[in-house]
């Protein structure tokens, strides 16, 4: 038996019952090793959302198997999937999704609530995560007072605070200008250099090009780009 990859999709198909029945993903095979930096590119409607849903354990494949960190996720019930999601996967979104009435520190702490970080460690880890994204001088700020780039860095801190196996970024630079988007991508590269497994889903060729390995998704089918 060979070591388990972080993500392994085997013949995954996701179809939505019709009529007409739509196959958003068609027999997809994907293997992401620990420490990989992968980008998934594709035009809108190509199945990126479905891919994100499946990878993030927010949806189940209709056919096929998804092994996350060596575990067969089809055996998990909803609650277990939520727990695995909280502890194993970090999300970064295009729209940041910071809670507007909570401080930067609180927003990062939010991720520790559901992922089983022991209560005594929560604040230290949140501060450490914010240190890492160089926002330790903004702990008590509300998100509304931060720039776009800073907000996305808070979101990254939130995504990594629970020490996930996998960071899933969905159009992470979509709401940022080129310069701040570049900063965020630099941050991703630093995290990658530290050993984090990264999957960036994007339609932006420039963002995609910074990944070590790129796959394209077109009409529900996955193809490797060299």
């Amino acid at each position: 038996m060979i070591a388990a990859p972080v993500v392994e999709l085997v013949n995954v198909t996701r179809s939505f019952p019709g009529p007409p029945e739509v196959q958003a993903l068609k027999s997809v095979n994907l293997r992401v090793e620990r420490g990989d930096y992968l980008s998934i590119v594709g035009p809108s409607g190509s199945g990126k959302s479905t891919m994100l849903n499946l990878l993030g354990l927010l949806d189940r494949p209709s056919v096929g198997e998804y092994h996350l960190d060596g575990r067969d996720t089809s055996l998990l019930d909803e609650k277990q999937r939520a727990i695995v999601r909280g502890g194993t996967i970090g999300f970064v979104f295009q729209a940041f999704h910071l809670l507007p009435h909570r401080t930067v520190l609180d927003n990062v702490l939010l991720a520790t609530l559901y992922s089983g970080v022991p209560r005594a460690e929560r604040e230290d880890r949140a501060r450490a995560a914010l240190d890492r994204v160089k926002l330790n001088h903004r702990l008590d700020f509300l998100p509304g007072t931060l720039s776009g780039g800073e907000r996305q860095r808070v979101a990254v801190a939130r995504a990594v605070v629970a020490s996930p196996e996998l960071l899933l970024a969905d159009e992470p630079t979509g709401n940022l200008d080129e310069a701040t988007g570049g900063e965020v991508m630099d941050l991703f590269e630093e995290l990658h250099a530290d050993g984090l497994t990264l999957i960036v889903i994007t339609h932006d060729q420039a963002v995609s090009d910074r990944a070590e390995r790129r796959v394209r998704i077109t009409d529900g089918r996955l193809s490797e780009l060299s």
Binding site: D69, I83, A111, L113
Partner: protein, 444 residues
């Protein structure tokens, strides 16, 4: 290929060190492959409360509007119940304790041919024990007038020709339990007991005014008085007899003593203390208990039952106000449901985010239900406080005694929570069914 396999092996051993360790523990017990997480570390009740309180406090102005319906509903319920209780208190105050709870039974009398009153019945000596068994009877005691007119009652048996002739106090005999039955108090010393009564001891208790007249104000020196030539030891002085005030002017001896010394033949009155509202019942049953063969030989003075009309009016008012209160509460509940639903729609992004961070549908539902329950509790607390305040203020202005069961106030606040819970159920289900990725990609 070989190199690749070696790399994989190394990775495998590293992977096993981290998540595999926790995995091993759970794999023994359950087929689950979920990491074991201590309950206290994952979204505990404490976390739930903190998150819910942020949700509640995020928009203070909206919170005020949301709670308003519950506040009004709860307040009107508390006011209604409070006024009902206060009014009930007023009614029983009018029938004040003494007149509403005192029954007196005398032998019936007829006029004989020469125009004199003649008793047709006779109270038995054990009358107090007989009526004590009846429902609604608290205490009972016998009174008998002692015919001692020709005997002077004095504190000193000295014939002082210069002293003005004074009216000597009346001598009255009672059973030991009478004092309690007519609600008198012992000022000093004690009242005689069953022992004195049975032995026919020569002891007396003085009414306060009689004691004053005889110049006796303390009993620790064992003063004596004389009825005629016979000395009696004073063992106590009583006061505060509201129902039979002439006891205050009397020298009181035990019934047994009166029978032995004065040839007393029968008691003249039976005083009974009853529960409020038991008047009609006791009036019907007491004569039968006293003499089953001839209950008609007694006359009973009992308090009338409270007007049933009054009760009906009170009940009508209560129903109107309770209905209004419940309607207001329903409106309040709908308000909470509406605002919570609105808040769910506004916070779609937050809900999606929480799901992505590892919240289960249940966690989301719990959060929204707790939020609306807290809003309901707040409304309940404020409403309950306002209601109590209103009852107190109106009672003050009217000169009434405000009466409100504390459990009504507490229960009303809790009722607010229940309304909040019920109102939050549907929005919470809606919130928990939101699709995370749709929510997360939809902007906001």
């Amino acid at each position: 290929m070989k190199v690749f396999a070696k790399r994989m092996l190394r990775r495998r051993s590293r992977a096993a060190a981290v998540p595999g360790a926790e995995l091993a523990a759970s794999a023994e017990l359950t087929p689950s492959i979920v990491p074991v997480i201590r309950r206290a570390d994952r979204f505990s009740v404490q976390d739930l409360m903190v998150e819910a309180s942020y949700g509640v406090g995020a928009r203070p102005s909206r919170l005020v509007m949301t709670t308003l319906g519950t506040v009004l509903g709860i307040a009107s319920l508390v006011v209604t119940i409070g006024f009902a209780q206060t009014a009930a208190g007023q009614i029983s105050n009018q029938f004040d304790a003494v007149s509403a709870t005192q029954v007196m039974i005398e032998p019936a009398s007829t006029r004989n041919s020469s125009g004199n009153e003649q008793a047709t019945g006779r109270l038995p000596w054990d009358a107090p024990e007989r009526v004590n068994r009846l429902a609604g009877v608290e205490r009972a005691g016998l009174v008998a007038e002692v015919d001692a007119e020709d005997q002077l009652v004095t504190s000193v048996p000295v014939n002082d020709p210069s002293a003005a002739q004074t009216l000597s106090p009346a001598v009255i005999a009672t059973s030991p339990g009478l004092l309690a039955a007519v609600r008198g108090q012992v000022v000093t010393g004690r009242y005689f007991d069953v022992g004195h009564d049975e032995r026919a001891d020569r002891v007396v208790v003085l009414g306060a005014r009689a004691a004053e007249g005889l110049g006796i104000n303390r009993v620790d020196s064992q003063p004596s008085i004389f009825i005629g030539e016979v000395p009696y030891t004073v063992i106590g002085i009583i006061d505060g007899v509201e129902r039979r005030a002439n006891l205050l002017d009397a020298v009181i001896v035990p019934l047994g003593t009166a029978r032995a010394d004065f040839g007393l033949t029968a008691p003249t009155e039976l005083h009974v203390q009853i529960d409020v509202g038991a008047g009609t019942l006791v009036a019907r049953q007491a004569p039968i208990a006293l003499d089953p063969n001839a209950p008609e030989n007694f006359t009973v003075q009992a308090p009338a039952a409270a007007s049933s009309l009054q009760d009906n009016i009170q009940a009508d008012i209560n129903i109107v106000f309770l209905t209004l209160g419940i309607l207001a509460l329903l409106a309040g509940g709908l308000g909470i449901a509406n605002v919570t639903l609105l808040s769910v729609m506004e916070r779609v992004g937050e809900i999606g985010l929480r799901r992505a961070l590892g919240a289960t549908k249940r966690d989301i539902a719990r959060q929204f239900i707790v939020e609306s329950a807290v809003i309901g509790l707040l409304g309940g607390l404020i409403g309950s406080a306002l209601g109590v305040f209103a009852v107190v203020v109106v009672s003050l202005l009217q000169g009434w005694t405000p009466i409100l069961d504390p459990f009504v106030a507490i229960g009303a606040a809790l009722l607010g929570t229940v309304v909040g819970l019920a109102a939050g159920a549907y929005p919470a289900v809606r919130a928990s069914n939101i699709e995370p990725i749709t929510a997360l990609r939809g902007g906001t």
